[in-house]
């Protein structure tokens, strides 16, 4: 049973606006009055060319409107044709981006699947696509939120769930799932956005009896729960894969456990692996490499390169040549004590003394990681990769009695300190580090062409930092920022949009 609340008049106006819908061509060159995908564009840079909000006038930013939801906003909204679509588990709200008024809400009763959060929706043609905690993919009418179809992505009874914001590439909708408490093969599905039919499945770890060509050493997991990025010239999708399972028991899964904790490049038409790069060989600390693989075209040591960059949960920043997966930079951006160095191909070498043990190991970073899923940004002017980072320590326990299924151990956190850090992509060196308070940050990062970086601290403040040196230029007590800020132009006005607590807050300069 599903419930939809709508308001006839506004719905019909929105329906007219949406008649043109989202096309593959539009996603290749998003209009300024849109944020049509989870990352805003295919590169995942989370950087805007808009220049209306500047260091000189940022102090005049004021609230344009505020929209109250019934759950903490961790998702990144999508904006198409003047309508924002924002999600939480089992919920989607369509909100007028000019006024903050609700146009419709889709909600469904709580299932008995696993609830942790939700990343966001996808929009294609005149439909909004949302994953659910019980691992369904729903296609909703963008005009009124009514369910057009509902397909099962994975079996939630086995322990799968989904928080994923799907990625649309051509006529493919790429949908990922999660599942750390059971030994489940890692799968990314390509769904036909018109019909809901499965086009292909990429397995990061092989299911029983399936030969994927890459043995995983007995490991399952490697779930692709975060939205990937896409290079149309190379026709490759880049996705980060999650940690292996069993999570903390590394004894029963010897070797590297490919392709867990990796950046993989896939052909979106076939799901075939072009290349993979493992950022955490044989992970035993729950450090997903699901973080955004950011695509940057720039000089590297004086030579133009097509690169993919990731600040990974394991504490290392990676730069790869995205045509072939060859490593250009591996450097720590936060406290790490689990590796013995970097090998010739750029992979950190895990120190077996820091694998979980019966009496515990003090490991840095902790389970929540040196960073997590919230978006970093790449500022092309300064060449800085800006990311929410954490210097943190945790305890890791495993003994044979913990078994070889699911979590298989214990990993309590000890302490952490949060920072916004700017990394020079050519050297991996930290250019500046802005403290944001105890614990891991909960805000993503957005940079703009005027040299501004928007993010949040671990208190209740929205921050505008100077991108070049991290100095605070402005702040506002709007509530704890829980998502990644976005920006868009509507009617000639630049809006900044953040999730603060249970609210969506739009700001603009007068």
């Amino acid at each position: 049973m599903r419930f939809v609340f709508g308001f006839g008049l506004v719905v019909s106006l929105a329906a007219i606006a949406l008649s043109q819908g989202v096309t593959p061509a539009m996603l290749l060159k998003p209009p300024v009055d849109s944020w049509p995908t989870y990352h805003g564009d295919y590169t995942g840079k989370h950087h805007s060319a808009f220049t209306q909000i500047t260091p000189a006038n940022v102090g005049q930013l004021t609230q344009a409107w505020k929209f109250q939801t019934t759950a903490g906003v961790k998702s990144t909204p999508v904006l198409v044709n003047g309508v924002l679509y924002v999600s939480a588990p089992d919920n989607v709200w369509a909100v007028d981006a000019r006024t903050g008024k609700e146009l419709w809400r889709y909600t469904q009763p709580r299932s008995d699947a696993f609830y942790i959060g939700h990343r966001g929706v996808a929009v294609y043609k005149d439909m909004v696509y949302v994953t659910t905690p019980n691992a369904h993919l729903l296609a909703l009418n963008a005009s009124d939120g009514k369910v057009r179809w509902d397909v099962v992505i994975a079996d939630s009874k086995k322990g799968y769930w989904s928080t994923n914001a799907p990625l649309v590439v051509g006529n493919h909708m790429l949908v990922g799932v999660s599942g750390d408490f059971d030994n489940l093969p890692g799968q990314l599905k390509s769904i036909d956005p018109d019909t809901g039919k499965t086009q292909w499945i990429f397995y990061s770890t092989p299911p029983a009896g399936v030969d994927t060509g890459t043995p995983s050493g007995g490991s399952t997991g490697g779930q692709m729960w975060m939205t990937g990025t896409y290079d149309p010239e190379l026709n490759l999708v880049y996705v980060g894969t999650g940690n292996p399972t069993p999570v903390l028991n590394g004894v029963m899964r010897p070797g590297d456990n490919k392709w867990t904790c990796s950046i993989v490049a896939l052909n979106p038409d076939t799901g075939k692996l072009a290349w993979g790069f493992q950022v955490s060989p044989h992970d035993t600390h729950d450090w997903d490499a699901a973080e955004v693989p950011v695509l940057v075209d720039a000089n590297f040591n004086g030579t133009p390169r097509k690169m993919v960059m990731q600040a990974s949960r394991n504490g290392y920043f990676f730069v790869l040549d995205r045509t072939n997966g060859k490593n250009l930079v591996t450097a720590p951006f936060a406290s790490v004590n689990w590796s013995k160095g970097i090998d010739a191909e750029g992979h950190p070498i895990p120190n077996s003394d820091k694998e979980p043990q019966r009496d515990g190991r003090l490991v840095s970073p902790n389970e929540s990681g040196a960073t997590n899923y919230r978006s970093p940004s790449f500022d092309p002017q300064s060449g800085l990769f800006i990311v929410s980072a954490q210097d943190a320590y945790g305890l890791y326990f495993f003994k044979p009695e913990h078994g070889d299924y699911g979590w298989a151990g214990a990993s309590p956190s000890v302490a952490g300190k949060g920072f916004i850090r700017a990394i020079d992509y050519q050297t991996g060196k930290i250019k500046w580090s802005h403290p944001i308070g105890d614990g891991a940050g909960t805000a993503g990062v957005l940079s703009t062409a005027t040299g501004l970086t928007f993010t949040g601290d671990n208190s209740v403040n929205l921050l505008a930092l100077r991108t070049s040196d991290g100095t605070t230029l402005w702040h506002s007590n709007v509530g704890r920022i829980g998502n990644s800020p976005i920006t868009y132009m509507l009617d000639g006005k630049q809006y900044l949009l953040v999730g603060a607590g249970n609210s969506l807050v739009a700001l603009a300069v007068p």
């Binding site: 079996d155 009874k157 086995k158 308070g437």
Partner: protein
């Protein structure tokens, strides 16, 4: 140094494993040979629909979660279905001998037993797991290289700590004392105002813009940090720095030493 009132529960929330399969009504055992033979038969005859691990395939259900399998005793319910099929559900009849069917039954029950045993949730740590440290070495580290004795005393503030905390709770309290009873000492802070007045108290919160302390009267007082000069004695900062210095051996030794302070 910042004290945050936020607890990051985002990714640290308690886990929930898959929904438990129905419990087998009559427990039954099979020999490894039967199970092995059954795996081969099952894989070739049944795996295409039910998955090679019996956990479900493209068209056949997950047999480890089947109520019928839970109620089966040595094939009394499964065997007829294998031999007769279930035409209405699209399952064909299989012309197999009794030995082959028995082996398949053995494999299905073994897979089901494995599924029932699955508990993928986060696990507990027992106090006995942590009894690896050397208390004497821990005392030396405490009094010497670790610098713990600069602030703490085995006969003063830590007297009896080994009675109040054990195992992992003691280790966490030692590494970063933010929880448990008695409550750890809050940071002491002195704020000097532009008027040269000074206000002393304990830290309530501090971020980049505002500091709040509780003064001697118990009142909370706040100032913009740019308006005051702050002098803070935050014991937690010392503990945080120490996290980057401990070896695992030091850590276990100090915990063992503290456990002796009863």
């Amino acid at each position: 140094m910042r004290i945050s009132i936020w607890i990051i529960a985002t990714l640290l929330s308690a886990g929930q494993a898959s929904q438990r399969p129905p419990q087998t009504v009559t427990p039954q055992t099979y020999t490894p040979e039967q199970i092995q033979a059954g795996q081969t038969r099952f894989s070739s005859q049944c795996g295409f629909c039910h998955g090679r691990d019996a956990a479900g395939g493209e068209t056949g259900p997950d047999l480890t979660r089947s109520v019928l399998v839970a109620q089966d005793l040595r094939g009394d319910k499964i065997s007829p279905i294998v031999k007769m099929g279930r035409q209405e559900k699209g399952m064909p009849a299989f012309d197999l001998g009794d030995a082959d069917v028995s082996a398949i039954v053995a494999y299905i029950h073994d897979q089901k037993a494995k599924a029932e045993a699955h508990n993928g949730n986060r696990r507990n740590v027992e106090p006995s797991d942590l009894e690896t440290g050397n208390a004497d070495a821990g005392r030396q580290y405490f009094d010497g290289a670790g610098g713990c004795a600069k602030c703490h005393s085995a006969t003063g503030d830590l007297a009896g700590i080994g009675t109040r905390f054990q195992g992992l709770a003691l280790l966490q309290r030692m590494l970063y004392p933010t929880a448990g009873r008695p409550a750890p000492a809050p940071a002491k802070v002195t704020v000097k105002l532009k008027s040269d007045e000074t206000v002393a108290g304990t830290l309530v919160s501090r971020d980049e813009f505002t500091i709040t302390l509780k003064d001697d009267t118990g009142a909370n007082r706040s100032w913009p940090v740019t308006d005051v000069t702050i002098t803070m004695n935050d014991p937690l900062a010392v503990h945080f720095d120490q996290l980057g210095k401990y070896t695992d051996t030091d850590m276990h030794n100090v915990r063992a030493y503290l456990q002796t302070l009863r």
